[in-house]
Symmetry: C2
Subunit: 195 residues, 2 copies
């Protein structure tokens, strides 16, 4: 009733983020019963992506080329360098359509408690990149979490000491929100950073 191949599939599906034992079983049954073509397609695209997708030599984002399309784009403003924690964060900024500079994708965020230091997230490469001629401003767009803020702080101190202009994404009240329902920390920050 629970043959080896089915169990193996359920186990493998559990490695996807956010998928527990019940969802994994539901997915496996669904694919077997209703979408075997989809399952084969998924197997193929997984293989293809894992072998074809690598990191851009310049900005570290995912790409199939040596240098990604964004870094190669002559329309981009090479004077602006936006630092993000992950390629997903970069994708979020790209979707806004309001940034025309280049990026540098960290390999995560500083997290001394987990033993993740400057070297693990590729900071030396970022420092070299930020020191290149033509870079006028580094925009820190790490997350507004404890670790993201700590990473931004370290980056800011180091880059400023090297004479680079450093800015941080604005903190404040999210668009479309009513003050009554915004958390106090956010309102306090918005007051301090008022303009």
């Amino acid at each position: 009733m629970s043959p080896g191949a089915l169990d193996g599939l359920v186990e493998a599906l559990r490695r996807l983020p956010g998928v527990g034992p019940k969802s994994a079983m539901r997915m496996a049954y669904h694919l077997l019963q209703h979408d075997r073509d989809g399952a084969r397609l998924l197997a193929q695209t997984l293989e293809t992506a894992m072998s074809a997708v690598r990191h851009c030599q310049r900005c570290n984002t995912f790409t199939e080329d040596e240098i990604c399309a964004t870094c190669r784009d002559p329309e981009r403003d090479a004077a602006l360098l936006c630092v993000v924690e992950t390629a997903a964060d970069q994708a979020a900024i790209e979707r806004t359509g309001s940034y025309r500079g280049l990026y540098f994708v960290l390999q995560g965020k500083l997290s001394p408690l987990d033993g993740i230091g400057p070297h693990d997230i590729g900071l030396s490469r970022l420092y070299a990149r930020a020191g290149e001629e033509g870079v006028r401003e580094v925009i820190l767009a790490t997350n507004f979490t404890a670790e993201g803020e700590a990473t931004a702080h370290v980056l800011s101190e180091t880059l400023k000491s090297r004479g680079v202009v450093v800015t941080r994404l604005a903190r404040g009240v999210p668009a479309g929100s009513e003050l009554e329902y915004v958390d106090l920390g956010t309102i306090a920050h918005a007051l301090v950073d008022r303009r």
Copy 2:
């Protein structure tokens, strides 16, 4: 920034049930960044399961053999035949550890509005199976949804007319629940079916 192989993977992940565009992207980034081995394992297990797992010739559940382990088990009580909508439902009954008979897995449920009739869910094979010597009782364990109930009704009428003893899973108040929070239809059914 969003290369073909990555887009293809995100699209394919969306074919999993319950996975929308955001989760698919999160899964793809996670696999690329943190678990390429997991992704390759998933690709392999998908391929293996899709080619190895088929339907048991006797009860229709998923198996890698001609006849599944449950149907082959001599310890099972062949006088009892439990009809379920899906292999997942069968797995749920098996997990209770309180049923020692055999199963018949339908290919879904009757749904005239969607054009799914008796032939599509393999009812003729079930009728033949239920008519075999040695089958003493057919237990209808289709879901307690409108379609599951309709399927149970049709099965019950047909099997009874052929002289088969037919029972249905008991309806009633779920174990561990407080009456105050149980829906009215369930309480009404539990009253009618009181014993």
